[in-house]
């Protein structure tokens, strides 16, 4: 049964093992299989079809759902960004050309949001990744209860953006908040975390830093554990102390991982939305009284669903995407440049 099926699927190979090794045998075997209705020939064809089609069947759910709910909408967003689409009159969509983009690029709020996204992205990503690197370095020592330490550092990751922001909003409350109280204990002046430019951006960034440092530390830790031990040994033989080992062995070996986390954090920072929204409380979509922490993500939501201009919101979304692509290209160039300069040393 199994043998016959194999012979039918691979007629050439079965002919090769047959005692009468002649091209005619293979042809006969094939010819015998073709006209027979149903039976093993039908099954063999089904089998071959199964082998060919099933890989595509297995990957199709991803591509169908991704296509329907991400790729097609992405193109439609481009289409809507060239139209007047109002939330209040969804059935009236008129051609706008580049008007939405022109409005956008001449709006101070857009450039303000772009600036804020950039500065909040910088003050949330750089300290976060440095702290994560430091934390990973410590977690890489032999520790008592190493699993417990790792789980504890990851706990903020279990907290949602919304829950974390609600808590941090209270902690950063200007009058009664914990942070200003602690600042008072060490003799510092209270900071107006709601109204001041850098204060509010720092507060919003601290939520991001709190939630993601442990996660990134685990990613660095995994990469550190994959560094071959003999590299450290030979560095130690060369007389390198711990800090020099960290700089000349750990960091270069971690470069791809660091680049990976930089890319992921950059993508996250470009989309920053929930933290500034909930930090702003009742009028959250404005990003503060002076729009001091209104990010691009927030500006898009504000224009689309509060102001009700979905065409403009689409234009903002595509601008975000283009900015992301530019950043990705810069990232790629920088990493390539780093790699070549490193190789030349």
């Amino acid at each position: 049964m199994t043998g016959s099926k194999q012979a039918l699927t691979h007629p050439a190979s079965s002919a090769g093992t047959a005692p009468g090794d002649q091209p005619g045998a293979a042809r006969r075997a094939r010819g015998r299989g073709r006209p027979a209705p149903g039976g093993s020939s039908w099954r063999s064809r089904l089998y071959r079809w199964d082998m060919k089609a099933s890989p595509y069947a297995f990957i199709s759910p991803f591509f169908v759902i991704f296509g329907a709910f991400s790729l097609v909408p992405l193109l439609y967003t481009a289409w809507y960004s060239l139209h007047h689409v109002q939330l209040s009159s969804l059935d009236q969509q008129t051609w706008a050309g580049l008007e939405n983009y022109k409005n956008l690029f001449s709006s101070d709020f857009f450039w303000n949001a772009l600036r804020n996204t950039f500065s909040i992205g910088l003050i949330s990503t750089v300290p976060q990744l440095l702290a994560a690197l430091w934390l990973a370095h410590m977690l890489n020592y032999r520790l008592r209860g190493s699993t417990v330490w790792r789980v504890v550092m990851l706990t903020p990751y279990a907290t949602s953006v919304a829950a974390a922001t609600l808590v941090f909003t209270l902690l950063f409350a200007p009058d009664s908040g914990m942070i200003n109280w602690l600042l008072g204990l060490v003799g510092a002046d209270p900071v107006n975390w709601r109204e001041s430019d850098w204060g509010s951006q720092l507060a919003v960034s601290s939520i991001v830093i709190w939630r993601w440092t442990g996660y990134n530390a685990l990613i660095y830790l995994a990469a550190m554990q994959a560094v071959p031990a003999d590299l450290y040994e030979s560095a130690a033989i060369d007389g390198a102390n711990r800090w020099q080992q960290f700089r000349s062995v750990t960091i270069p070996m971690l470069r791809p991982t660091i680049l990976f986390t930089v890319v992921v954090s950059t993508i996250g920072a470009t989309q920053l939305f929930g933290e500034p929204l909930l930090f702003g409380g009742v009028s959250g979509t404005k990003g503060g009284s002076e729009h001091q922490y209104q990010t691009l993500g927030l500006y898009m939501y504000d224009q689309g669903w509060i102001v009700g201009n979905l065409g403009k919101a689409s234009a903002i979304a595509w601008s975000m995407f283009l900015i992301l692509l530019i950043i990705a290209a810069i990232n790629l160039l920088v990493s390539r440049w780093l790699r070549t300069t490193h190789d030349h040393q």
């Binding site: 194999q6 089998y47 199964d50 099933s54 890989p55 595509y56 297995f58 990957i59 759910p61 991803f62 591509f63 759902i65 709910f69 790729l71 097609v72 909408p73 992405l74 967003t77 809507y80 410590m138 020592y141 032999r142 520790l143 699993t147 330490w149 789980v151 990851l154 706990t155 907290t159 949602s160 953006v161 919304a162 829950a163 922001t165 609600l166 808590v167 909003t169 902690l171 009664s176 442990g214 996660y215 685990l218 990613i219 830790l221 995994a222 031990a229 040994e233 711990r242 990976f260 470009t270 939305f273 409380g281 009742v282 689309g304 919101a313 689409s314 903002i316 979304a317 995407f321 990705a328």
Partner: protein
């Protein structure tokens, strides 16, 4: 005689496996000094303090939270605040909704990621390398790029405020597909698939009898990671759903925008919405940590 026969191979098998690890540990993994422990305790405090304080604030009253110094220990109002959040802020409905939403998304993501991951790891087909690269590339696309058309279509379908609106777009995951692929490349021996093929097994039978058993540990980890992500998903749910049929994050968003102007109730809501995941971390923290580290090394 028999016992020595049994113990002997164990010894020889165990010794060489253990020794290099110890050598490696001595050479590289230095013991942490007291300073390291102190700094780690500080990191741990920063990690946990906001969560502990959420519980403290949830056990107080609004007027107490408005006074300085802020409360540093628990009060007696926890259960009343939890009840208010559960009943009046919609956290009760939200919890049930989110269990359904996150559960469905997790089941779909794990199933579809395993199938696709298996195909990318072990099956030969045209354009497989390109399609895999494409899958990874999709991770770069921000969700903001899809929400305007999705919102318009879902309104047309009359699906606004229905849970399937939140479930459907998130039912697959590029990360999950890549994660399963990386796992199955190593964990699933190609000989096993070949053997099943020789026995005349169809692809579906191979998946059921060979792939799923081999993939089970990674499926569990991916399930945990997906559940956390689905539970915490924010942007699309707050656009697609309103307060009548919220997920946890939608309800929290409402609380944050002044639905109930009582900070202790808001904190009770935040605590309720986080508690299931904290319990999951308590039970499966090791596996979740392992999953993130596993995904990182290969990713």
């Amino acid at each position: 005689m028999t016992t020595s026969e049994v113990t002997l191979p164990q010894k020889t098998a165990g010794a060489p496996a253990r020794r290099p690890m110890r050598v490696m540990g001595a050479g590289r993994q230095l013991h942490a000094g007291p300073v390291t422990y102190v700094v780690l305790v500080l990191f741990a405090l920063v990690s946990l303090a906001p969560l502990v304080w959420t519980a403290i604030a949830a056990s107080r009253t609004n007027t107490r939270l408005a006074r300085t110094p802020p409360p540093l220990w628990f009060g007696g109002n926890l259960f009343r605040n939890l009840q208010t959040a559960w009943d009046q802020a919609g956290m009760g409905t939200a919890m049930f909704n989110t269990v359904f939403v996150a559960g469905t998304i997790t089941a779909g993501t794990v199933l579809f990621s395993t199938l696709a991951g298996f195909a990318f790891a072990k099956l030969r087909f045209r354009f497989s390398a390109t399609l895999l690269l494409l899958t990874i590339g999709t991770m770069m696309i921000p969700p903001q790029l899809a929400v305007v058309p999705l919102y318009l279509w879902m309104s047309d379908l009359g699906w606004a405020n229905h849970l399937q609106t939140v479930v459907l777009p998130t039912l697959v995951s590029a990360f999950g597909t890549f994660f399963m692929r990386q796992y199955l490349v190593q964990a699933l021996p190609s000989e096993l698939i070949e053997a099943a093929r020789v026995d005349g097994a169809s692809s579906l039978r191979v998946v059921w009898h060979v792939v799923f058993p081999a993939a089970r540990p990674a499926m569990a980890v991916l399930g945990l990671l997906t559940f956390v992500m689905a539970w915490n998903d924010f942007l699309w749910p707050i656009i697609a759903l309103n307060g009548e049929n919220p997920t946890v994050q939608v309800a929290l968003n409402q609380l944050g925008t002044g639905y109930i102007p009582d900070d202790s109730v808001i904190m009770a809501g935040a605590l309720l919405g986080t508690l299931p995941l904290l319990i999951a971390f308590l039970l499966f923290g090791k596996q979740i940590v392992g999953g993130i580290m596993q995904g990182a090394v290969k990713g």
